[in-house]
C-alpha cells in the first residue's frame, strides 16, 4: 500500500528525472544551461496557456478556445501595430482585453446560457478562428503588406514589443534567459499561489469538487466559474502576445499546436505528486516534461513527425496514473 502510494505520488517526478538522466547520457550536450533554457523557451507559450486552462479545470470546466484566443491576440497585436500604427503598450492592452472579453463570453454561455463547457468553448474556438481572418481577408500581417482596400500598411512592430520575444536577461551567463521564460515562471508562481493559498482558489476547488456544497456554503458559484474562464482567456492572450513578439508578424498559419500541447500539459499535471486534480505546479511540471521529452528526442535525431504521437502516449500514461492507479476516477 505504501509502495503504491509512493508510486502514485512520486512516479511522474521520478519518470521526469529518469528521462533527464537518460538523455544526459544518450544525447550529447543535453545537460547545459543553454539546453535547459531552450526547453523552457519551447514550452513557455504552451505553459502559459496550460496554466490558464488549469483554472477552468479547477472549477470543473474546460476551455477549448485557448489556442484560438492566443492566435487571435497575436493577429490583433499585429493589426494594432502594423495597420493602425499604434505602440506596444496599446497592442498589449488590446490583447489582454480580447482575452478577458472572450473569457467573459465563455463564462456567460456556460453559466447563464447553460451550454456545456466543451461545446461553448468549441463554438468560441471556431468563431475566433474565423474572426481573426476577417480584417485582413485571410492574409498574414507584416510591415509593408497591401491591405484589401489597396493601401499599404506602414506600421511596424515596436522595438519594445519585439523585446518581449527576443530580449534575454543575464543570469550567470550573459544573454541567457528569454523574457517569455520569465513571464512563464512569474505566472506559474502567481496562479499556484492563488489556487493553493488564497480563499478564492480554495473555493474554486470546492466548486469543482461539489458545486452544490459550495453554493450551500455561501459561495457565489456562478461568479467563480466566470472568473475561471476570464483567467483562462487572459492567460491565453498573454500567450498570444509572446507568440506575436517571437514571430514579429501576424502569421495566420501559426499556433496550431497550442491547444493540444497546453491541454496535454494540464492533464499530465493531474498525475504529478499524486494530486489527482488540476493544479498549477503539476501543470508546470507537465509542460516541462513534454519539453524535455521533445528536446531530448530532437537531439537524438528522432523525426519531427513522431512528436505528436509521443505527446499522446505521455498523456495517456499520465491519465492512467491519475485515474486508475489512484482509484479516484470521480471526475
Amino acid at each position: 500500500m505504501i509502495l503504491r502510494d509512493n508510486a502514485i505520488r512520486y512516479g511522474f517526478i521520478v519518470l521526469l528525472f529518469g528521462l533527464i538522466a537518460y538523455f544526459a547520457v544518450a544525447a550529447d550536450g543535453f545537460v547545459s544551461p543553454q539546453s535547459a533554457v531552450f526547453i523552457f523557451q519551447s514550452v513557455a507559450i504552451t505553459g502559459v496557456l496550460a496554466l490558464g486552462v488549469t483554472a477552468t479545470l479547477v472549477v470543473g470546466g474546460f476551455d477549448l478556445s485557448i489556442g484560438s484566443v492566443a492566435t487571435s491576440a497575436m493577429m490583433a497585436a499585429a493589426y494594432v501595430m502594423v495597420v493602425l500604427g499604434q505602440n506596444a503598450v496599446v497592442a498589449v492592452v488590446v490583447c489582454l482585453v480580447i482575452g478577458a472579453v472572450v473569457g467573459l463570453i465563455n463564462g456567460w454561455l456556460i453559466v447563464y446560457m447553460r451550454v456545456p463547457d466543451l461545446l461553448a468553448t468549441l463554438g468560441m474556438m471556431f468563431l475566433l478562428v474565423g474572426l481573426q481572418r476577417i480584417p485582413t481577408e485571410g492574409r498574414s500581417i507584416a510591415t509593408g503588406m497591401t491591405m484589401p482596400d489597396g493601401s499599404v500598411a506602414n506600421g511596424s512592430f515596436g522595438a519594445a514589443f519585439l523585446a518581449l520575444g527576443r530580449h534575454r536577461f543575464d543570469f550567470f551567463i550573459p544573454n541567457l534567459i528569454p523574457v517569455s521564460v520569465v513571464v512563464l515562471l512569474v505566472l506559474a508562481v502567481l496562479i499556484w499561489f492563488f489556487l493553493e493559498y488564497t480563499r478564492f482558489g480554495r473555493m474554486m476547488y470546492a466548486v469543482g469538487s461539489n458545486e452544490r456544497a459550495a453554493e450551500l456554503a455561501g459561495a457565489p458559484v456562478k461568479a467563480y466559474k466566470i472568473w475561471a474562464y476570464v483567467i483562462s482567456g487572459v492567460f491565453a492572450s498573454i500567450g498570444g502576445i509572446l507568440l506575436a513578439a517571437r514571430l514579429g508578424r501576424g502569421d495566420i498559419a501559426s499556433g496550431n499546436n497550442l491547444l493540444l500541447d497546453a491541454v496535454a500539459a494540464a492533464l499530465i499535471g493531474y498525475a504529478v505528486l499524486g494530486a489527482a486534480k488540476p493544479n498549477a505546479f503539476g501543470t508546470a511540471v507537465g509542460a516541462v516534461f513534454v519539453g524535455v521529452l521533445l528536446q531530448g528526442l530532437t537531439m537524438m535525431n528522432a523525426p519531427y513527425y513522431t512528436q505528436d504521437f509521443v505527446k499522446g502516449v505521455v498523456l495517456v500514461v499520465a491519465l492512467v496514473f491519475t485515474f486508475a492507479l489512484s482509484g479516484r476516477g470521480r471526475r
Binding site: 480554495r202 459550495a214 486534480k277 470521480r330
Partner: protein, 503 residues
C-alpha cells in the same frame, strides 16, 4: 383472505455487507386491490422493490406468483413473468426523444422473435391498442419531451401495462405531479384495479394513501411493522407503525424561551399552501416533523435564501430578513446543515479540515490569503468538541464513517456563532451514538441562537427538541411542547386527517 393472494413474499432477507437491510419480510398482494407500502427512508422499501423487480438477488426467503415460484434474475425476467415496476424517476420509464407510440411498444423492439425491420404502421397499431385499453387520451405522434410530467407518467404506466402484468408496482409515482395530475393517475389506477391487477403502491403522501389504499403495510427497519386491512383503515396506526417510538428514551427537559430571535409571518413556500407563521426563541431547539414531501426542505431552503417565498415576511433579530442568496443568509447568521451530505455537503476532494472551514474562509484570511494555522486550530477544536473519530484533521472524508462525516458537516457550521441554526435531516444515515453526540451538542450549545431541526423520524424530534411542530401539505399544522406529548394527536397531524378520538 390468504388463498386468493396473487403474489406472495415469504421471509425475504437481504444484506449489504454485514448490514441487514431486510430482516425477513412477508407480504401478500391480492388481485384487484391497491396495497400501500409505507416506510421512512432506510426502512427497506426500495430494496424490497428492487428484489421483486429482479434488480437485486435476495439473500433468503421465497416469492411466489399465482402459485408458482417466482425468482427473477433480471428485470426483463420479472416483466415477462408478469411483475412490472414503474420507478420513481419518470424519465427512467420513457425515452424522451421518441414519440408516444414507439415508447408504448418499446419493449417489443428487442428480444428474440422480433422482426429486424422497424415497421411504423405496426407499431402505431399496437400502440393504439395499448392506449385504448388504458383509456389513454394522448396524441400517439407527440414526442415524449413535449409532454407534461403527468402525461409522461401515464405513458410509462401504459407501457408497463402493455405486458398485461398481474402485479404492478408503483414507486412514489406522484412525487413530481400536481394534485390535478395526480387525480388523472388515480383514475387510471382505479381502472387497473377493476381489471384485476394487484397493485403495490409506495408513497408518503397521506392524501394519495387515503384516496387509493385498500390495505396498508408499514415497514420499519427492514421488517413489516404493521398490516392494516380492516375498513375503515387505521391511518394513524399505520403512521405510528412506520414512525412511532421504538424504545422509551430518556425524556429531555424542555426549555422555554422568552426572547424571540426569528419569526415568520404569513410565509408561503408552495403554490396553494396555507401560510406559515412561527416564532423561534433564544436557546430553543425546535423540531419540525412531517412525512417526506410535505415541504420541510422547501421551508429550510426558503429560510436559507436558496429559494424565494411566494408570500409573507421573515424577521431576524427584530429586523426584516429577506436573503437573496446563501451568502446573504450566512452573513446574517443563518446557517443550514443541508440534508443528504453526500450530495449537498461533502466536498470530496477536500480533507476534514478543509471541509470544516468551507463557509468561513473570509473570516480566516487576510488580504484573501487563507491563514492555515487558524483553519487548523478551528478544525482541531471542532473535532475535539464533537468527538469526531479520525486520525487527524487532514484525513480524507471518504475514510470516515457516516456518523463522523455528518459530525464534520455539523462542525462546519458550529465553528462560528449562528443566530438561526437550521439542520435538515441531520440524523440521516447516522448511527445511534453519533446521533446522540450531535443532539447533545446541539442542546448544550443552544444558548444565543435559535436551533431548528427538520426530521421525519419522530424519535429524533422527541429526543432533541424543546418544541415540536408538525408539517403537512406545505404548512405547519400542529405544535407540541416536548413534555407529555399527546402522541396520538401528533400522529394524527402527521397523517394529515381529522383526529379520530377513539380511545
Amino acid at each position: 383472505m390468504g388463498n386468493d393472494a396473487v403474489f406472495r413474499v415469504d421471509g425475504l432477507r437481504k444484506s449489504f455487507g454485514h448490514i441487514e437491510v431486510l430482516g425477513g419480510v412477508s407480504l401478500e398482494l391480492h388481485a384487484g386491490e391497491v396495497t400501500v407500502l409505507m416506510g421512512a427512508n432506510g426502512a427497506g422499501k426500495s430494496t424490497l422493490v428492487k428484489i421483486i423487480s429482479g434488480v437485486y438477488d435476495h439473500g433468503g426467503g421465497s416469492m411466489s406468483l399465482a402459485g408458482h415460484e417466482f425468482d427473477p434474475k433480471t428485470p426483463a425476467e420479472a416483466i415477462r413473468a408478469g411483475v412490472v415496476t414503474v420507478h420513481q424517476n419518470i424519465n427512467d420509464g420513457v425515452v424522451a426523444d421518441l414519440d408516444v407510440a414507439t415508447n408504448l411498444t418499446l419493449d417489443r423492439l428487442s428480444g428474440s422473435g422480433v422482426p429486424t425491420l422497424f415497421n411504423p404502421g405496426r407499431v402505431r397499431r399496437e400502440a393504439k391498442a395499448v392506449a385504448d385499453r388504458m383509456g389513454l387520451a394522448i396524441d400517439l405522434k407527440a414526442r415524449i419531451s413535449d409532454l407534461s410530467l403527468a402525461d409522461r407518467q401515464m405513458v410509462a404506466i401504459a407501457r408497463a401495462m402493455a405486458h398485461r402484468p398481474k402485479v404492478l408496482i408503483l414507486d412514489e409515482p406522484t412525487s413530481s405531479l400536481s394534485s390535478a395530475e395526480a387525480d388523472r393517475l388515480f383514475a387510471l389506477l382505479d381502472r387497473l384495479r377493476q381489471q384485476g391487477v394487484a397493485i403495490l403502491y409506495i408513497s408518503h403522501r397521506m392524501s394519495d394513501i387515503r384516496r387509493l389504499a385498500d390495505r396498508i403495510i408499514s415497514m420499519r427497519d427492514g421488517v413489516i411493522s404493521g398490516i392494516f386491512d380492516k375498513k375503515p383503515l387505521d391511518y394513524e396506526g399505520a403512521v405510528n407503525a412506520m414512525l412511532g417510538r421504538k424504545i422509551q428514551l430518556e425524556r429531555i427537559v424542555a426549555r422555554n424561551s422568552a426572547k424571540a430571535i426569528f419569526a415568520t409571518d404569513g410565509l408561503r413556500v408552495a403554490e396553494g399552501a396555507r401560510p406559515i407563521s412561527l416564532t423561534l426563541g433564544d436557546g430553543e431547539v425546535v423540531a419540525i416533523t412531517g412525512l417526506v414531501g410535505v415541504g420541510k426542505t422547501a421551508l429550510a431552503e426558503t429560510l436559507f435564501g436558496l429559494r424565494q417565498p411566494l408570500g409573507g415576511t421573515m424577521m431576524l433579530n427584530g429586523k426584516p430578513y429577506a436573503p437573496a442568496s446563501t451568502g446573504e443568509a450566512i452573513a446574517a447568521g443563518v446557517f443550514l446543515v443541508a440534508k443528504d451530505r453526500g450530495e449537498n455537503g461533502i466536498v470530496g476532494d477536500f480533507n476534514v479540515q478543509e471541509n470544516i472551514s468551507l463557509p468561513f474562509h473570509r473570516r480566516m484570511s487576510r488580504l484573501g490569503v487563507l491563514k492555515r494555522r487558524i483553519e487548523r486550530a478551528i478544525a482541531r477544536q471542532q473535532i475535539q468538541e464533537l468527538g469526531i473519530v479520525c486520525r487527524s484533521e487532514r484525513d480524507e472524508m471518504a475514510s470516515l464513517s457516516g456518523g463522523n462525516q455528518q459530525k464534520v458537516m455539523v462542525a462546519r457550521w458550529m465553528s462560528q456563532a449562528a443566530r438561526l441554526f437550521i439542520l435538515d435531516e441531520p440524523f440521516q444515515g447516522v448511527d445511534i451514538s453519533a446521533r446522540r453526540d450531535i443532539a447533545a451538542k446541539l442542546r448544550t450549545s443552544a444558548h444565543g441562537r435559535a436551533t431548528l431541526l427538520f426530521v421525519t423520524e419522530l424519535d429524533e424530534a422527541l429526543e432533541t427538541a424543546d418544541r415540536i411542530l408538525v408539517m403537512s401539505e406545505q404548512t405547519i399544522v400542529g405544535e407540541h411542547r416536548n413534555t407529555d406529548v399527546d402522541l396520538e394527536r401528533l400522529l394524527a397531524e402527521v397523517a394529515g386527517g381529522p383526529l379520530h378520538s377513539a380511545a
